[in-house]
């Protein structure tokens, strides 16, 4: 038995064993869930550079295969790590709720299915694992019941539409070439007509775009992310949604191939895709600024950051693909971290997510705050966090390839991110601490641990981006892109070098010098939060906030332009469908006489049809 098969068997059977252990003892179940998810991380880490391909089953004449290459290893390690850390976070988060064994089953099943997706070597296995992932995610999104049910329904309807598109594409590939193994499909792309390739690309774009929440298919994401349990929101936004990006990379660069993708005749498919990415950055990021629910704010950023990945990948240059791919893993680390932070706050404040009613928690939850700060810096792309390096790569390729308007959209998105993320930090952790949260405690260790690990990853990859960039460079060369001159501290090239170590050292040194200078002055006295200067005004306790409508003047200016047209359209479609069905239902009056009349009418119709048919 090869290690790939073993990995999937462990992942899938582990999920079900965890469920049944939950019937016996909760403690052993928790331990086993953590154990299984850590074992997956260990196995994948050991598989680094041992690339392989195996046939595990023959389904009629279709061999079902598993395969591991650089791209799938890169995604697999991210999936396993996020999975393991979110399981650890769940230990206290989910404790004491109902149906916890079911929760663990679904969490582990989702992870296993995602591993299956990236390891599958043919499109049938890919599709099967994709469906397992979609449906277990649905069950987790609606885990909280109430509004979560509606969110889950919205998700699964769009997800099913995406799956249908994928199924059509897969079937047409099978009809055309008689094989669905990925490596056997590769040579066909070169000979296919550009119209057929475009047809395939559009179908796969719908399939993966819906999962990846690409505008205009994004509207399932904000409710789903905000209603799901927080550890699962981390998985969902961090990696599950990015399975769509994996699909894009797989289809664009492995199956269709770089040359065909970029040189797709007059259609300029990749250029249109880049503009969709740019729209995807700007509008959701500014909508995020208007949100008052902390998880919904992050969810909109999940949509917005997806735009950077698409923008990078769509350009098809070495730097762009490297930036886009790097941004996937960076996004995974910081958005997962931020969702876990929100989860920790939610856990301590009994489920408060409303940004307007929190505040001042930095004094009570310092570790969580540091996690939030690092995560926010990563999301903004402050230098020395990983988000900066990937964005730098994307901007650089945009500017040097002469796409200044796309670069403008991407840079503008960053400034929108700063505003909304500062609001996030300020309204939860800074400002006045309300009286009711006076006795709040720091999050328990099982929550702090994943937060610390993710923060460490963000800073490590920000200062030494060479570690992930080497793997990403290998992915790029496997797509047939020119190899980049990757060093441990960034990228060296003639048109502009990045040296993160220089930036880090200078910032650290300057910081220390300024700190020493500030020590020259007289010692400061520490005061509490009520001891504030208000220009002579009386300061009433507990009523002295500025959090609601944090950017009020800006909101008034931009809100009229920030309507979610796509969502409004879908909702109108849904309402229209419902009213149509409602009208159809009226024919069931419950009166026997009416039904007899229907039957007679139907018979009369048949006879009339028959008579006309004769004539």
């Amino acid at each position: 038995m090869s290690s790939l098969g073993l990995l999937l068997i462990i992942a899938f059977s582990g999920a079900f064993i965890t469920y049944f252990l939950g019937k016996i003892s909760l403690k052993s179940r928790d331990f086993f869930a953590v154990f299984i998810s850590s074992v997956c991380v260990a196995i994948i880490a050991r598989l680094h550079n041992s690339y392989q391909k195996i046939v595990y089953f023959n389904f009629f004449d279709l061999p079902l295969t598993l395969r591991l290459d650089t791209l799938s290893w890169f995604f697999a390690i991210a999936i396993a790590t996020v999975g393991a850390l979110s399981i650890i976070f769940s230990l206290s988060y989910i404790k004491g709720r109902e149906r916890t064994s079911f929760y663990y089953l679904m969490m582990l099943l989702t992870n296993a299915a995602m591993l299956g997706i990236v390891l599958s070597g043919d499109l049938v296995s890919f599709y099967v694992f994709w469906e397992i992932m979609s449906w277990s995610a649905f069950l987790l999104i609606s885990y909280n019941r109430g509004p979560a049910l509606a969110a889950g329904m919205k998700y699964i309807i769009m997800s099913v539409i995406g799956s249908c598109a994928m199924l059509i594409a897969v079937l047409s590939l099978y009809a055309a070439y008689g094989t669905l193994t990925i490596c056997e499909l590769v040579p066909f792309a070169a000979s296919a007509s550009s119209g057929y390739i475009l047809f395939l690309l559009i179908l796969f774009f719908i399939a993966f775009g819906i999962k990846n929440a690409v505008w205009p298919f994004h509207s399932w994401l904000p409710p789903a992310h905000s209603e799901a349990p927080s550890p699962f929101s981390a998985v969902l936004s961090g990696i599950l949604v990015r399975m769509g990006m994996y699909g894009f990379l797989l289809v664009f660069f492995t199956i269709v191939g770089l040359k065909v993708f970029v040189g797709l005749g007059k259609t300029n498919f990749h250029y249109v895709l880049a503009w969709i990415g740019a729209i995807n950055i700007v509008i959701p990021t500014f909508i995020a600024m208007l949100q008052n629910d902390s998880k919904r704010l992050l969810a909109w950023h999940g949509v917005g950051q997806g735009g950077y990945m698409i923008l990078g990948v769509a350009l098809g240059s070495s730097l762009g693909v490297a930036g886009g791919t790097f941004h996937i893993i960076n996004h995974t680390s910081y958005i997962a971290l931020l969702f876990l932070v929100v989860g920790a706050v939610e856990y301590r404040t009994n489920g408060i997510r409303d940004l307007n009613s929190l505040g001042g928690l930095i004094k009570k939850m310092p570790v969580t705050f540091i996690g939030a700060l690092v995560g926010a810096c990563g999301l903004i792309g402050v230098p020395l966090t990983n988000g900066f390096v990937s964005k730098w790569l994307i901007y650089k390729t945009l500017i040097l390839d002469k796409h200044p308007f796309l670069a403008f959209a991407a840079l503008l998105g960053t400034w929108g991110t700063i505003l909304s993320l500062y609001k996030f930090l300020h309204n939860i952790f800074l400002g006045q601490l309300p009286e009711k949260y006076k006795d709040i405690k720091e999050a328990p260790f099982s929550m702090k641990f994943p937060i610390i690990i993710f923060s460490g990853i963000i800073i490590l990859f920000g200062i030494l981006p060479g570690i992930p960039l080497r793997v990403i460079n290998a992915i790029g060369t496997s797509f047939g892109l020119k190899s980049l001159n990757v060093t441990i501290w960034g990228i060296a090239s003639e048109t502009g070098t990045l040296n993160t170590i220089n930036i880090f050292t200078s910032l650290l040194a300057v910081g220390i010098i300024i700190w020493l200078i500030s020590r020259f002055g007289r010692k400061t006295a520490a005061v509490n939060q009520d001891d504030n200067y208000a220009a002579g005004a009386y300061v009433p306790k507990d009523k002295y906030y500025y959090t609601v409508d944090f950017y009020n003047p800006l909101y008034r200016m931009i809100t009229p332009y920030l309507r979610d047209f796509a969502d409004e359209f879908y909702m109108r479609l849904a309402r229209w469908g419902r009213s149509l069905c409602g009208k159809l239902r009226r024919i069931y009056t419950g009166d026997i006489g009416n039904y007899v009349m229907y039957i007679v009418l139907f018979l009369a119709l048949l006879i009339a049809f028959k008579l006309w048919g004769r004539i």
Binding site: L373, I503, F520
Partner: protein, 306 residues
């Protein structure tokens, strides 16, 4: 060979120390000068030129209050961010860290200064500070829109992301401010310069009559001195960037300084005569005229490059 490398290394190390100190001295001179010019425009005598130096020394000797760890760290982060930006901006022939990332790093490091101030002020839990920060971030978003277009026009025109390469190009081919496609972005930069420097008519963030100095409200003693230093360095960055991108930089630090002085005096004149705008008015203005000019400039650059 080895001695040559050593000399090279030493001069680099020296530049790293000298350029922030020089920036500080120039900035503090500008601050004193602006108070003097303002006073003369108001028909007053005005404080001595060295008044900001005296103030900083006095403030360091006074006792301040602290609201917690982030309150102390944020302001340090803010200054450190400014200093690192200065290391990336060429000053005449002095440019210690230019080879480590170019314009995009400058653009992103410029973000540390407002972020540090915002984090520091946020922990102070004073609503005046929160209002000030909210205004500061809105204003930065407002001027960042034209600024990004301007920088993109310049970077696209010279096809590089490195400031150091833009300066010699201008010394060969003339200042970008007077070259045809970059003329409009140059004008746009002048229009948004008061907003970048936080001067009137965009002195919305501090607005001492409305929100008791906004983000500065809780700073006292050493912290206020540090906040002043941050302001000084910010002054230097905003003007130095303009001189480098549009006025051909400087072949030596002295001509560079003279160009900076000329630009600064213009902003002081504007500062002296204009009243303060409201934040909506400021955003409306910045998103209208400078953005339009910068956008037209960028389109012209695109047409020229095609």
């Amino acid at each position: 060979m080895i001695t040559g490398a050593l000399v090279h290394w030493c001069s680099d190390a020296l530049k790293i120390f000298v350029s922030p100190i020089l920036a500080f001295i120039i900035g503090i001179f500008f601050l004193g000068l602006s108070r003097k010019i303002m006073a003369r425009i108001h028909w007053r005598y005005g404080p001595p030129l060295l008044q900001p130096v005296i103030d900083i020394i006095k403030l360091f000797s006074q006792k301040g209050i602290s609201h917690g760890g982030l309150f102390n760290l944020g302001i340090i982060l803010s200054i450190a961010g400014c200093v690192v930006v200065i290391l990336f901006i060429p000053f005449g022939w002095m440019c210690p860290l230019s080879a480590s990332g170019g314009m995009l790093v400058i653009l992103y490091m410029m973000l540390l200064a407002p972020l540090g101030m915002a984090l520091s002020g946020g922990e102070a839990a004073n609503p005046n500070i929160s209002i000030g920060i909210s205004r500061k971030l809105i204003l930065s978003l407002a001027y960042e829109v034209p600024l990004l277009l301007i920088l993109l026009a310049v970077m696209t025109y010279y096809n590089t992301i490195s400031v150091v390469k833009i300066v010699p190009e201008q010394q060969n081919a003339g200042w970008s401010l007077f070259s045809l496609p970059l003329f409009l972005p140059g004008i746009a930069y002048i229009l948004i310069l008061p907003a970048i420097l936080g001067k009137r008519p965009f002195e919305i963030v501090q607005a001492s009559q409305e929100i008791s100095s906004g983000p500065m409200a809780e700073y006292g003693g050493g912290f206020l001195a540090l906040a002043t230093i941050q302001h000084i360095l910010n002054l230097f960055i905003g003007i130095a960037l303009f001189v480098n991108l549009f006025l051909g930089g400087g072949s030596n630090p002295f001509t560079f300084f003279l160009k900076m002085l000329a630009v600064f005096v213009i902003t002081v004149f504007i500062n002296a005569v204009f009243p303060r705008l409201r934040i909506e008015q400021a955003v409306g203005y910045l998103w209208r005229w400078p953005t339009m000019l910068a956008l037209i400039g960028l389109i012209l650059v695109m047409i020229r490059c095609k």
